[in-house]
């Protein structure tokens, strides 16, 4: 084939154009990197990733993994990362539950319930998240009383401007037998539940479910507990010096961020859920009614599964928003990845290019992972044409 024919061939030309564009992008990227490196060298600014192995020299108050001022910047990165993941995943779980409840309530035929849900959705979706965050932190949580005047619930839970303190369960010697009994009871309960379902299919008759299951879970554990001694002790927070000691503490910074993210995304998820449910053809509900199916099972077995197909894609973007919004943490002084790494670390080392690109790469990676997971789930619930 002569060369001019190649030029006129649509496919070949398409490939050629793509190749040229790709080459330009790659060359441009390479030039940017080399030029930045050259500028840094000339300006006498340290570059590279050696700083990750150097001691950070600052403390982080909220951490899921061990960290002290002698730990490295690399370790500080992981503290920030786990904090971001914690608040984002708790936010996602609770926002989803809240969103589903409110979304369904919004469609309820109960006037008060649906109006309340509408008011919540309308308010929360129309106020900037940052203001809500500041509201929870500055207007609600920090004005709480000092620890010595803390709001006290049954001498077990204390709410003060230092956070929420609650008893920490501490296993005693007899903990494991009781725990084993509970696990065994749970297994038996699940087996029983599965068997009743089979029985229902075979005979069309339903056996009682709730009471046998409760008995199976509670009775063995109770017997073991009575034979042995107490299984759990609770480490109850007590006032000591400036603050409470003992128990579990949730600092107000975390509470504020988690509350704001949950309530904000919950509002959006509720709308997504409502849209998904409305998208299910009304004939489906009528058909279910015609077959004599009660309202609960109609919702659970007919409407929601079909609504999921509509709900999942926008839900993915709500989850991604929540993750990205978690970087507002610095406003309330919560040490998330951005505050610890793109804040303290950037400033202590002065290596802005490295810290910012690592931080951006991390958010990109987590976002892509969430998308991949949601896409996989979406394919599972998607309508399979036969």
């Amino acid at each position: 084939m002569p060369f001019s024919r190649y030029l006129r061939d649509r496919k070949t030309r398409g490939y050629a154009i793509q190749a040229v564009v790709l080459a330009v992008i790659l060359l441009g990227g390479t030039w940017l990197i080399l030029n930045a490196a050259e500028n840094l060298r000339r300006a006498g600014i340290a570059s590279g990733f050696a700083f990750l192995d150097k001691p950070a020299g600052f403390e982080i108050s909220f951490k899921l993994i061990d960290f002290s001022a002698r730990s490295t910047y690399g370790r500080a990165f992981f503290v920030g990362l786990t904090n971001t993941l914690l608040v984002a995943s708790l936010g996602i779980v609770f926002a989803t539950v809240l969103g589903f409840v409110v979304g369904v309530a919004r469609l309820s035929r109960n006037w008060l319930l649906s109006r309340l849900a509408a008011a919540y959705i309308g308010t929360i979706r129309n106020i900037p998240l940052m203001l809500q965050l500041m509201f929870w932190y500055i207007a609600m949580l920090t004005p709480l009383p000092l620890p010595r005047n803390a709001l006290n619930l049954a001498d077990l839970f204390f709410l003060s401007n230092r956070g929420l303190f609650m008893p920490r369960p501490a296993p005693l010697d007899d903990f494991w037998p009781v725990a084993a009994a509970i696990v065994a009871g749970l297994a038996a309960a699940i087996a029983y539940a599965l068997w009743t379902r089979g029985h229902w299919r075979r005979t069309g008759r339903r056996l009682p479910l709730l009471w046998p299951v409760l008995a199976l879970v509670v009775l063995p554990a109770a017997v073991v507990r009575l034979i042995g001694g107490p299984a759990l002790d609770f480490d109850i927070p007590k006032l000591a010096g400036f603050n409470f000691a003992g128990g579990i503490r949730i600092p107000p910074e975390f509470l504020a961020l988690w509350l704001a993210l949950t309530l904000y995304s919950g509002g959006f998820i509720a709308e997504t859920v409502r849209a998904g449910i409305n998208a299910v053809a009304h004939g489906q509900v009528e058909a279910a009614r015609a077959l004599g199916l009660p309202a609960g099972p109609t919702m659970r077995r007919i409407v929601i599964p079909q609504a999921m197909r509509v709900i999942i894609p926008p839900m993915t973007s709500q989850y991604l928003n929540l993750l990205k919004n978690s970087s507002l943490a610095v406003i309330v002084g919560f040490p998330d990845l951005v505050a610890v790494f793109a804040g303290s670390t950037l400033n202590q080392t002065g290596q802005s290019i490295e810290t910012l690109s690592i931080t951006m790469a991390v958010f990109l990676t987590i976002s892509l992972a969430i998308s991949a997971l949601m896409n996989w789930y979406n394919r599972r619930v998607a309508l399979v044409e036969r």
Binding site: N35, I45, I138, L146, F242, L328, V338, A339, N347
Partner: protein
């Protein structure tokens, strides 16, 4: 808000580093061509740099930048004050968004050696201190074991407090914010037992709390915090200009030259004075980049160190700071500038 803009600024600064071509004109020429000095300040620390209700800037850092502008342009108003956060400040300087950083910045080894900065001198000898509510009844830093401490992230303060508490076997809970403003505000709300920053900053912040009299600054100073202006590394001429404007302000006070008497001083017979204000140009060279009466302009239009100190942070101001270590060496302080000869 602030943080998003901070990140955006940091990103543009990073882009600035990535996109600008390595070869560029000298900073002095750039500043002259622009007709304005870009001075990076905190913008929120009364006495150091803050605009008043009418938008007029004042403060020690502000007056230093005015002195540089006076030396360069013969006009102290040819300065644009650019508020930068602690996170942005070094990147803003590195990328050329500002010409001088005068932002209560501590001169440290790592900042000098690793991040492309040149500190031009010490403008204010400071040290880190602690402020607590009187109600706590704490009289010493040693009594702060287990306290919550409001702090600004990315500062030397953040590391110094950690060193100090570790060395003394004490525990604390840091609550770190992006801006000193917010850290102080949250301290004021009672969320933290302690607010810590440089002692001068504590005095400045205390004036902004809801009940300044309820708060006490603890006597211990736990670190050296030499605060000074910084410029980009690699432009000797600009480093010299910014350094010697500061030295000229200090030398002027030592020689008794003030903004009010500087005109009469032209008749002075003291050779040190004559060299300072350019009447004797035996030490002057064109390499410096400014005309020989550069220091005269800075002193006449802005003032000597003592005048600037008294005007902004001295005993007669809301901050009410004594000279202390910022007194001239001949009066028992630490202020000592190399001679103009």
């Amino acid at each position: 808000m602030r943080f998003t803009t901070a990140i955006a600024l940091a990103l543009t600064a990073v882009a600035g580093i990535a996109f600008t071509s390595p070869a560029s004109a000298g900073i002095l020429d750039t500043v002259k061509a622009r007709g304005q000095l870009l001075c990076g300040v905190s913008g929120k620390v009364p006495g150091f740099s803050a605009p008043d209700a009418k938008g007029v800037w004042s403060g020690l850092d502000v007056d230093y930048c005015r002195a540089v502008a006076a030396a360069v342009f013969n006009d102290p108003e040819k300065v644009k004050f650019v508020p930068v956060t602690t996170t942005e400040r070094f990147t803003a300087l590195q990328s050329g968004e500002i010409d001088v950083l005068a932002r209560n910045t501590t001169w440290t080894f790592s900042r000098d050696a690793n991040i492309g900065l040149d500190f031009v001198g010490i403008m204010f000898h400071d040290g880190q201190g602690f402020m607590v509510n009187k109600k706590l009844g704490v009289t010493s830093v040693k009594g702060l074991n287990g306290a919550s401490i409001c702090i600004q992230n990315g500062t030397t303060t953040e590391q110094v407090v950690s060193d100090y508490f570790t060395a003394n076997g004490m525990k604390y809970e840091p609550v770190a914010f992006e801006s000193a403003d917010e850290a102080a505000k949250i301290y004021d709300s009672g969320r933290c037992d302690v607010y810590t920053t440089d002692a001068s900053g504590l005095a400045a912040r205390r004036t902004t709390l809801s009940n300044p009299k309820d708060h006490v600054i603890l006597p211990e100073i736990i670190s050296k915090e030499p605060l000074g202006p910084a410029v980009r590394q690699g432009d000797q001429q600009w480093s010299h200009i910014t350094r010697w404007v500061l030295f000229a302000m200090i030398n002027a006070e030592e020689l008794g030259v003030t903004s009010k008497n500087v005109d009469q001083m032209k008749a002075s017979k003291n050779p040190d004075v004559r060299r300072l204000i350019g009447e004797d140009d035996s030490v002057y060279s064109d390499k410096f980049g400014l005309t020989k009466d550069w220091a005269f302009r800075a002193i006449k239009l802005v003032g000597n160190y003592g005048e600037v100190f008294d005007r902004n942070v001295g005993p007669a101001t809301a901050l009410g700071l004594e000279r202390g270590p910022n007194q001239l060496w001949i009066k028992g302080g630490l202020l000592f500038a190399p001679p103009l000869r």
